[in-house]
């Protein structure tokens, strides 16, 4: 029995660990560092009872409950910084752990199978379930390690009101959430026929779990108990420290895993239970154009970002009503938002928010341009250029798509912010002002897009450099208020030249200059692209 099903599992665990070690290391490192760094900052952010009480009051509206989970008694927040920390951090970190588990699990199950690795392993003297068992054990170990590092890490920080049991429970919540989503992914890896299908189904479950919990937390608690993420936010960690949701999660993960193992034993290698459905026999007229093709290749990603920025805009809009009370209490935000008698706190916040949102929105636009380089790396542009398609037309399609992306993203930010603000604020924001404050960043965003085109056209090996510039923009934006960089460093950030609406006046001259610069950079990129050798 052991021979037949599990022979060689130990060796395969080592093999999988070797393949995945960097990813595991990076994920664990990132998650643990962020958690510990934020936790250690909390006592200085929420120094006294008033600030904690203000926090609890800010959280006490349906929008925030839907986003972060149900509220405890306000008393609990006043007496426990841990409760405040968990309320803000736990759910989102758990979602990140879920994403990590889905990606890792998808890789070492369906993706390996799709690439033929599993087939080669199965041709050796190993058991039928060995590969799957090894994958599951690696995922389990990863999540255990996460729980241990986070739990003891938090305990070692020695923050009063964040005790050992609470810290360990916090770690275990994260680890067990990861375990649940690993098991889902392993199950879908048996059911779906492609690795993409398996990860997509798993992400769908993650999103569904989040939404069911959000609706349940706002309206009907029983509904939340269906969702694994509903269990995540119901441990009263650092307050009551209930362990029952953990047992629930582990039981669920084990049942799902057993089901996955069973399905694995009864299916053929390379096949699934949901056959991938047949696609279209012919291309639509739109797909047959270079623009249509670039949209088809990058569209899913763009739509995902569009939903994301809209949701971000809307969720910031939802808290605008409580903003004045909230930020008046927070010292950290004071550093960003200079005291300015002439404008209200809300207006200053909108100005800062728009800069951040513009940076987030420029990312999908840059990705759109760099997609062309990715296509070249995968030897797919030769499919186009060996036919009667000019280079200018292809690069132009990606460029135009990127510019459209910047406009759509910023418009969505404005619409999201405005419409959510409308619902919660006594005195609604003026749509025109919000719209202008979002669109004013477009010329600066086009400069960034232009840099991407320039690199693709003239320095194809260094296209990643544009990301350094995006990070640089973030750093200047976030830290300039605190660190006070020299003027030339600030000037290098194109975002710093953009007038902050509504607190500043519109500056058309700068807008025009930035647009012209953006166009010149892009044109140089186009010229370079027409002249250089293409790799594939």
């Amino acid at each position: 029995m052991y021979e037949r099903y599990f022979k060689g599992t130990g060796t395969l665990i080592k093999l999988l660990l070797r393949q995945q070690r960097f990813k595991i290391f990076a994920w664990l490192g990132g998650l643990v560092i962020v958690t510990l760094a934020v936790a250690s900052a909390y006592p200085s952010i929420y120094k006294d009872e008033q600030s904690k009480q203000a926090f609890a009051l800010t959280m006490d509206n349906p929008a925030m409950v839907a986003m972060l989970g149900p509220l405890h008694e306000i008393e609990n927040y006043i007496h426990s910084i841990g409760a405040v920390f968990a309320h803000e951090m736990l759910l989102f970190t758990a979602v990140a752990v879920g994403i990590m588990s889905i990606l890792l699990a998808g890789r070492s199950t369906r993706a390996d199978e799709e690439e033929g690795l599993t087939e080669m392993i199965h041709a050796l003297s190993v058991g039928r379930l060995s590969y799957l068992s090894a994958a599951m054990i690696v995922l389990f170990l990863t999540n255990v390690l996460l729980a241990v590092l986070t739990g003891f890490g938090l305990a070692v920080l020695g923050i009063e009101e964040m005790g050992l049991e609470g810290s360990l429970l916090y770690g275990v919540i994260l680890g067990s959430t990861g375990f649940v989503f690993s098991s889902f992914t392993v199950l879908f890896a048996q059911v779906a026929e492609t690795s993409r299908g398996a990860t997509m189904l798993s992400f769908a479950v993650l999103i569904l779990a989040y939404l069911v919990r959000a609706i349940g937390d706002v309206s009907n608690e029983t509904l939340s108990l269906i969702s694994p993420l509903g269990w995540t936010v119901r441990t009263e960690v650092f307050v009551e420290n209930d362990w029952w949701p953990i047992l629930l999660k582990i039981a669920a993960a084990i049942i799902i895993t057993i089901l996955a193992f069973y399905l694995n034993t009864i299916r053929d290698l390379g096949s699934g239970f949901i056959a991938s459905k047949g696609g279209k026999k012919h291309a639509s007229a739109f797909l047959k154009t270079p623009f249509g093709l670039s949209w088809r290749l990058g569209g899913t990603n763009i739509i995902a970002w569009a939903i994301g920025v809209f949701a971000l805009g809307a969720s910031f809009g939802a808290i605008l009503g409580d903003l004045e009370t909230y930020y008046a209490e927070m010292d950290v935000m004071q550093a960003f938002i200079a005291e300015d008698a002439g404008s209200s706190m809300t207006e200053q916040f909108i100005g800062l928010l728009m800069a951040i949102m513009a940076l987030i929105s420029v990312i999908p636009a840059v990705m759109t341009v760099l997609k062309l380089k990715g296509e070249e790396n995968r030897n797919r542009t030769e499919n186009l250029y060996s036919r009667a398609v000019s280079r200018g037309k292809v690069l132009g399609s990606y460029y135009i798509l990127a510019v459209i992306v910047t406009i759509v993203m910023q418009a969505l930010v404005a619409i999201g912010l405005w419409s959510a603000g409308l619902a919660v604020m006594d005195e609604a924001l003026e749509f025109g002002t919000i719209f202008t404050s979002a669109l004013v960043y477009l010329p600066a965003m086009w400069v960034v897009v232009g840099i991407a085109v320039l690199l693709v056209g003239t320095l194809p090996k260094a296209t990643g450099f544009v990301w350094f510039y995006v990070v640089y923009l973030f750093i200047v934006l976030y830290l300039n208020g605190i660190l006070e960089f020299p003027q030339w460093m600030v000037s290098l950030s194109v975002f710093e030249h953009v007038p902050t609406i509504p607190t500043e006046e519109m500056d058309w001259a700068t807008m025009i200059i930035l647009t012209v610069i953006a166009m010149i950079i892009a044109v140089i990129g186009f010229i370079g692209y027409n002249k250089r050798d293409l790799e594939g």
Binding site: T194, K281, R380
Partner: protein
Amino acid sequence: MAILETTNLTKKFGKFTALNGVNIEVNKGEVYGFIGPNGAGKSTTIRVLLGMLKATEGEATIFGKDVWADAVAIHKRIAYVPGDVNLWPNLTGGEVIDLFMKMNGNVNEQRRDELIEKFNFDPTKKCRTYSKGNRQKVALIAAFASESDLYILDEPTSGLDPLMESVFQECVMDAKREGKSVLLSSHILSEVEKLCDKVAIIRQGEIIETGTLSELRHLTRTNLTVKTKEPMPDLNEIKGIHNVEENDGELKFQVDTEELDEVIRYISQFGILKLESAPPTLEDLFMRHYQGAGHADSGGAL
């Protein structure tokens, strides 16, 4: 009239010379074989011809137009099949074929459907599920469904089964009958032998041999199998005789074509019982050029 012509075509990548003075001429209605080991410069030549790489020196024209400057105009009348077809995983085979045909600028739907039938291809699957051979079929169907005057085929049959390979050969023959030209780079020498009118052999970026198959054979050795009444002494000493093997009293050896007359005179002294001669296969030719060079020809994977 030359459909495709290169003169002294040279391509350098930094210090590495990938192509060194390549001359090729493909005429109307001609199938031109282009053979050489991996890294010899076949794909680099083809990439230059497609206007993806810019030649460092020399000239390359197709239909009398410059391959770099007039790439788009030229490509309306050519079809290209790479040896390694990379497709978009989230498009179906049928969508890709349509896309390719549209980009070529001429659409012959009837021909496309015939070829899909002939190659026994399922166009409704996503490209990520296709095997190597099936991806190859996508490019072949798109190429032969287009109304092109020149087909550039870079190891087009890699991954195809023998049945499909013969379908491919029919397609090339049909194209030739219609007066189209073909540049066929291949490793499968029997295929080149069957299809090509002319052959060029490239090694380390240089064309070392070019001509019709019979011209090339002339330059090389003939295989002889001989049995004589009396034993032949010192066969190895005779000028133009190579690789002597003895088997059951029969002698097998190769003769330089230009020495054939002398060798036959010599052999006939010993009373010929049996004499078989076979023309050299392309493989012999190929092997002779590469092994004769005495060292491995490993260029970059370009």
